[in-house]
Symmetry: D2
């Protein structure tokens, strides 16, 4: 479109006036050969997040209206929106001793992953769920939930939700519950776990398939054992790991075998010290958080050393690999179920 | 957050510097009680679209690079992007006599709906598919396709795709094919129809379930007959219509019974003259095009009279109803499969 | 087990007394290397069936108690039981002018296939369905149904059910309805067809998946056209046929794309004159009926010439092939869905 | 059919000669109002089974040809066939110290449930699986498997298979493997458990859905804990049990949430002392084995007191209830998946 004469100019003015846009001036941006995400690869440091969350803990009350003392990763490529990726929200949430985060529910699906600390219970539809280092806690959409810190120290953790995806699709519903959680009990295990967190066993009274997992908490002891078993099998010469030196488990819905939430996949990866993973790209975005150990992550042409708590955002189709300097455990969540359910998933070596 | 002292100001500066955004200042926008779409209800007039497309036909060549002479509805609420809704692309495409739209393929799913004219064949993976008034033509993702006008008059039609959705999710792949379509045959029926468009029958040689429908064209004669049958059943006192005076068929994938494309639902609605439909809202957005007759559409608090070819965009959760001044046929497409596959569909009377 | 001493004899007596049977004396019969069906390959001649059914029409009334004037193929290998195969019932049913077969319902799934004649309506849950040469009519389990002959000539047709399967599994329920059908209308098309028998279209008012097809009749004109299209595509050099000279369509459930009934597959096969099909075996049993033309069928080591109306039973895993002396159309039904749904299907060239 | 004259007699002779059977003389037996199983309710005593299996252990070698020293429950209503019900095989298998049951595979699905003892490893596709009291071991169809007793005492257990179902449907395939198991290791946990028996976790390297569960052994400690949790929840006032005083878990396939085997459901039930279960009937047959405690079972009009190891067969649609004299644990297996997958399941209070 190098020369544009008067008639054409008039036509383009008409287009604009009629709320029309021609494809031929946009096609390169709309239909690139492979994804060209606006979202950037980026790393946030846990130490700094923790420090800033502490300041917020000193200065900003938590309560009805603000709802949560959560501070979201705002991808530098996404224009200041509080979105880690176009589909995923990731935030540090912080609760002082004795504080309550008020009860509400929303259509967005949520989880919490605990990289350090304990002492908070999240109460999901009346079921108190203890939060402790290494645990993955679920709050599927439209369940009332609140949090309360029963300990004498602050606690901070990672919140993951599909807020950006729901916002992009105009599919958000929200409702306040009672200000305080109804059950202030502090049981070691939630009732959901007592019913559902037994390997390969399900209650006969609950034969249905559910959209989200009925297990409210996946405990670190189980996750750790599963990862250790995979590496031991590898040592003995048997299959199970994803690639040499790289074990990984996916948190799953025991009523279907599928992902824990309709829009979010959650996994824990363990690399032996010295492991270099194969570079790989996939459609859809992911957030990684180091749980233990240290290493290097490379996304596109950029590399970062990472350690406990650090968060890495990987945009769609960006080549990514990891190197473990020590034994290295990483939590990962992604929007993969969206693509798989819509037959749009793709992955490739990079 | 009525008073903000210096410490807080510093904290917010720190947040910004670290690419962080607090939830408590954003929660109202991010998590409204019900969807608050930026997209607006809007109507585009076919006569004007046709006129402007004709200008483009005079001034802008179609060919490799621009790919298609397509002019997209740009929702006034979406900041100038060529998106009818946050998920759906709708455009008028225009091809002069003897012209070819070059062969390409993309991961986005596409269809064409023909409100007037004939004479173009769309060639999908080598299978020429005639386009005629009332037909719905499918081009599922990643199939090579081009168009060629074999007639001596221009032809214009509606293109529908999930371009905005794929763009929002960074899931776009594109590839050029040969510049010209390989098969310039002009058969009355495509090979796909000869294999698949027989009621309740499928070829034994093709037992698989496919993500998209294998039927390349749904012909008006069939659609019209199905709608007429529903209204006749209603007259005889039997069920079948959606509500009194309102017949509707959904185009479906014969290998699954589901929607024709993984992300797009397509339907044809027929109202008897005088019918007033019940107001209703649903999660997800839709585009309607009048196929025949005239009436009124009301979306939110706005109303428009509409006639042949006019296009109406209905944002998520907006209450909507129709009134038929004459017998009124409307084509409708929406993003409903996305929500249903992710267990996020909701609908309610309004 | 060649020598059996006194202690062993006592042990075997003890087994018998305690209702016990050892595996080691039975394993060869229970667990053969490949299926060893008791059912035999066999052919029944339509002319003879028609003649005997006529005798029954003269001598045996149809009415409550006997329920149907149906005469079942009793596989010679199955000890006199009225079972074509271990899972499938096949019978000729015969109705004199003016006769009614009384209304009942049962958990067993049924269909009718019409090799000749017309004039009977089967009324399924109040919906009258015309029966004409070439049509496949469905009566899914637990639907009330009766038949009435409105013509002035007798009519005979093939009934297919899963009676032996339901009997073997003790899963049979039965209930009488009113003695006479409620709707004596004689419409050309049933209401079910008017709602559902449009290619790739389904009523928006009925979005559910159903266990059985909602189409009560698959009409010959559609089946014939689909088969003709496959052979024409083959002539033009395009895929679609099962093998050279051999077209085939499967009757399917438009709400799922699956088989018409949960336990029964139904197909129509068309061979060009001179075609010899590849010999093939599959787990599960089938019944074929010649619809038109003549040829030869070979099952295991036995061969038969077959013509219009003749019925052939093919036991599980028996090698089978066909030769068409003229253009040859055959209806086929089998128990394949049982095996596929239980992951037990197997097939192989023979 | 009260009077039968000469013509009719001739007609019935013709039917017989032509391998035909009329429906009207059979309909009462073929199509009863509700299932009329030939199989009878029956109880076998474990002490007696154990004693007779011991005799077989003294007199009958185990090895190639006989394949297994298994003694099957032969339902008194089923004419001497080694079938507990029309679909289910149940046998006591017995292995002396040092003995090997040779390696083979078959299309029939199998499990073992251990009511007492230990010391045998079953080796499934090369993976040694320890057998101990309370464990459920799976051998899905077509997996090579053998058993070897590494201890210095005999061991006996319950084998469950779908042999009668596969026999009825002529769907049996069988193949010999090497005479001796390849891996004589005696690990505490199988490799399958190390990969798969972690609650809600699955290996990322194995994303597929499988027809049968990949968990080779469900261990008593897990089952016991799940049942204890349900009863504790009941005590605390929360849902989870099937009915008052009656906890139950279903063994499930973690890749789908469905049953462990395509044709067999397996459950463990726990009744508090004094519990009387509601009488209930369901389509399909079941076998129960007392694992611990004592009580009474009532099937149809018959009642039996039962204790550890005793086996109860419940035919289709027979009303059944239990009374627990002590705390009572029972293993149960049934053919329910067959009916559910074919949409033929029914259940009702009785």
């Amino acid at each position: 479109m190098t020369t544009v004469d008067a008639k054409e100019q008039a036509m383009y003015r008409d287009f604009a006036q009629e709320s029309l846009v021609p494809l031929w001036t946009q096609v390169d941006d709309l239909m690139p050969a492979t994804p060209r995400p606006a979202a950037a690869a980026h790393v946030w440091r846990w130490a700094r997040l923790r420090e800033l969350a502490g300041h917020a803990g000193d200065l900003v009350p938590v309560g009805r209206g603000g709802e949560r003392r959560a501070i979201a990763l705002a991808n530098p490529g996404l224009g200041g929106a509080p979105f880690a990726t176009p589909t995923l929200w990731a935030a540090i949430q912080y609760l002082n001793p004795g504080e309550d985060a008020p009860v509400h529910r929303h259509s967005q699906h949520a989880f919490r992953f605990v990289v350090e600390g304990e002492g908070v219970w999240t109460v999901v539809d009346g079921d108190p769920v203890a939060m402790r280092r290494g645990d993955l806690l679920l709050t599927p959409g439209w369940r009332f939930h609140g949090h309360h810190n029963q300990s004498d120290t602050p606690m901070a953790w990672l919140d993951g939700l599909d807020i950006p995806f729901a916002a992009a699709l105009d599919a958000t519903f929200f409702e306040f519950g009672p200000d305080a959680v109804s059950d202030r009990g502090t049981p070691d295990r939630s009732r959901s776990e007592r019913l559902w967190a037994h390997p390969g066993l399900r209650p006969v009274s609950r034969p249905e398939r559910t959209a989200s997992s009925p297990i409210a908490a996946y405990r670190w002891a189980d996750t750790d054992a599963a990862l250790a078993d995979q590496l031991a099998l590898e040592t003995e010469g048997y299959p199970g790991v994803v690639e040499p030196g790289h074990a990984a488990v996916r948190f799953s819905n025991p009523t279907t075998g599928g992902d824990v939430l309709p829009t979010i996949r959650a996994e824990l990866h363990r690399l032996r010290a010295g492991t270099l993973t194969a570079a790989r790209r996939e459609v859809g975005s992911a957030v990684w958080q180091v749980f233990d150990g240290s290493g290097t992550v490379q996304v596109d042409s950029r590399g970062w050393t990472i350690g406990r708590g650090d968060l890495v955002v990987v945009p769609s189709w960006a080549p990514m690999h990891l190197r473990a300097d020590t034994d290295l455990d990483l939590f990962r969540f992604s929007d993969a179920p969206i693509f798989e359910r819509l037959y749009a998933d793709r992955a490739a070596p990079a």
